[in-house]
């Protein structure tokens, strides 16, 4: 709920706000009185339904059909007269298709709206009428000495009487009470409207979480797409040029045997440099997003890394269907970074990489899990708290809601298990 900024010019204090002459009093009164017009069709429909149970259902259905319009009227009443914004319920899908209507009918927010319009709105109208009457009778009674002269001569008593004094006092009391009544009814109405006309808070949070998850997935996919674009540009541009350059230097080396030794040395050097640059660019491109991953999937890409590892790697990949591109990329980097870590720190002479995709154990059907296990026979003692590589790994795995478990007792063996949910 948000109070419209700047609208109440004077500060709201407990006593002055409920004085009959305060702006707040008039505002609350206007608000409660404004409850009457939107309630009229409802009251009419209800009256028909009660008096003629058979044919009365038709006007009632008409009223229910009017509900979206009534909701808009009520929201506008709350906003214009009270400065209160009742959040709009967002309905998905089209408007006037039968399916959209059916979905609307099934939605609990629709039924909450019916509740407001059929129960609260008539009561609010009654309250509005009470407030108006309180003002009217209060004013009339307070001024009894001013107008009782117009009564027929035989029914009035001239001069001051206890009776008229009491009526005057009651009028004043009624005038003092009217703003309080108006404020009370306005308050109750606002609470009911927030609960019944607005969106359900829990549902709203759920929707928000869904939105956030979706937008995060979108960001991840966009980053992934960008990496692939850069990879393609490097592959088809810089890398080809470097290969051509290295080849030309190689041709020069092979076809010009009679060069002076200095020139030959320079060409040799340039040739070596070019080949090293190709290697460097290759590993950079692989780090961005390996082309083989996109073209041929995880199995092929992983066998590439495993073949390049400086120790024997036993690789088994058991994937029936390819997971999404983002999950694939994370899985690839998990294996790639883990093997790099093993090469750097573990001192292992053997490593086993096992990748399997299967249903979530013990979980409901539908979601699949990609489980990656990397086992090495190295020295162990990998500490997730210290290694920056492991922290990076955890972040990467966390970005797709995966989990990572590291078992690495001193003396080995180290087992790293990563589970990535595929297909949310």
């Amino acid at each position: 709920m948000a109070i419209r900024g700047g609208a109440p010019r004077r500060t709201y204090t407990w006593i002055t706000a409920h004085a009959p002459w305060s702006a707040w009093a008039w505002r609350n009164t206007a608000f409660t009185a404004a409850a009457i017009p939107p309630a009229l069709p409802v009251l009419l429909g209800l009256t028909y339904a009660v008096t003629a149970p058979g044919t009365g259902t038709l006007p009632l259905l008409l009223v229910l059909a009017l509900c979206p319009l009534l909701t808009r009227l009520q929201r506008s009443r709350f906003w214009a007269l009270l400065g209160l914004d009742v959040p709009k319920v967002v309905h998905e899908g089209g408007r006037f298709t039968p399916r959209a209507l059916a979905r609307r009918l099934r939605s609990e927010s629709t039924w909450r709206q019916y509740g407001y319009h059929l129960l609260v709105s008539p009561l609010a109208a009654l309250a509005g009428a009470l407030v108006v009457l309180a003002w009217a009778f209060g004013t009339a009674a307070t001024c009894v000495y001013g107008w009782f002269w117009i009564l027929p001569a035989d029914t009035r008593t001239p001069g001051w009487t206890n009776e008229y004094d009491a009526i005057t006092a009651a009028g004043v009391l009624l005038l003092l009470a009217a703003p309080w009544l108006a404020a009370l009814f306005a308050r109750l109405d606002a609470v009911a409207a927030a609960a019944l006309l607005g969106p359900n808070r829990a549902r709203e949070l759920e929707r928000r979480v869904e939105d956030l998850a979706e937008s995060r997935a979108g960001v991840l996919d966009a980053a992934d797409l960008e990496r692939r674009r850069i990879e393609r540009d490097l592959h088809d541009g810089a890398q080809q040029r470097l290969v051509a350059l290295a080849m030309n230097l190689g041709i020069a080396r092979a076809t010009l045997p009679d060069l002076p030794p200095e020139a030959k040395a320079v060409i040799d050097e340039a040739h070596r440099e070019a080949k090293e640059a190709i290697e460097e660019l290759n590993s950079l491109v692989r780090g961005l997003h390996p082309a083989v991953l996109e073209d041929r999937g995880l199995d092929a890409a992983l066998s590439g890394i495993a073949a390049r590892a400086p120790f024997p790697v036993e690789l088994t990949v058991d994937i029936a269907a390819r997971p999404g591109a983002t999950v694939e990329a994370v899985a690839y980097f998990v294996v790639s970074e883990t093997l790099a870590n093993v090469a750097k720190h573990a001192g292992a002479d053997h490593c086993r990489v096992h990748v399997v995709r299967g249903p979530v154990p013990g979980g409901p059907g539908g979601g699949d899990l990609l489980r990656i296990t990397v086992t090495d026979d190295g020295v162990g003692g990998a500490d997730p708290a210290r290694g920056t590589g492991l922290v990076g790994l955890r972040k990467r795995v966390g970005s797709v809601d995966g989990t990572i478990m590291i078992e690495s007792p001193l003396g080995g063996p180290t087992v790293i298990t990563v589970e990535l949910p595929c297909g949310l």
């Binding site: 080809q240 290969v243 190689g250 083989v292 073209d295 041929r296 092929a300 066998s303 073949a307 790697v313």
Partner: protein
């Protein structure tokens, strides 16, 4: 000998033509895509087709698919594929289509070492094999798990096996490992015995036998 080239990068294509001419080939056609390649092979029936794997329009494995078609339709044309990355299953697919003609599958950057590349070109054109060491490493990896006959090999025999799978001759292996040719022959016989492979004639059949074993397909 006559050759055609399919490579979409013009810069590389010019260089490749030079290298082929250095190696004594006559370049009959140069093209930038798989369709042009198939047309050129159909027209010229060359001894060798030098093919880039990643070509328009899809930039994935057009070259491999074109190579498979060449093996079917023009069995006398040897194919040497150049690729940004090597994938052992492409090699397995290609080797499964057994013809008289040679087959090669190398990382693109290998063209920088011109002499070795020319060696590979000649080997493939004359019915031999040239497999990238990375492919061989991946093929060896694939044999992991289970009771492994490769485990019976000595480290030196594994090295010899890898070089043999790349398509090297005994002389080439001997030069690479700095041993005598007779020592290489001895290692090879020992490998064939340990792997239950009957010795076969010629380099190409030898590589195929080894690869069939490595790949696990009969």
């Amino acid at each position: 000998m006559r050759a055609v080239i399919a490579e979409d990068s013009v810069l590389l294509r010019i260089g490749l033509v030079k290298v082929l001419e250095m190696a004594g080939f006559e370049v009959l056609a140069e093209t930038g895509d798989a369709e042009g390649l198939l047309a050129a092979v159909g027209e010229h029936r060359p001894e060798l087709a030098l093919v880039d794997v990643r070509m328009p329009p899809g930039f994935t494995d057009e070259g491999v698919r074109a190579a498979l078609m060449i093996r079917q339709e023009s069995p006398d044309t040897a194919v040497l594929l150049l690729s940004q990355y090597v994938e052992e299953r492409y090699a397995a697919d290609l080797l499964a289509t057994q013809t008289r003609a040679g087959i090669g599958y190398l990382l693109k950057q290998r063209v920088a070492d011109v002499e070795e590349f020319i060696d590979a070109l000649r080997r493939v054109a004359s019915g031999g094999t040239a497999l990238d060491p990375q492919v061989v490493a991946q093929l060896l990896l694939r044999r992991g798990g289970g009771p492994d006959p490769l485990g019976r090999l000595t480290p030196r025999e594994r090295e010899v096996l890898a070089l043999m799978a790349e398509g090297r001759s005994n002389a080439g292996i001997a030069a690479e490992l700095v041993v005598s040719e007779s020592a290489v022959a001895k290692h090879i016989n020992s490998i064939f015995t340990k792997l239950d492979l009957p010795p076969a004639d010629g380099d190409h059949r030898r590589v195929l036998a080894v690869l069939r074993f490595l790949d696990g397909t009969p």
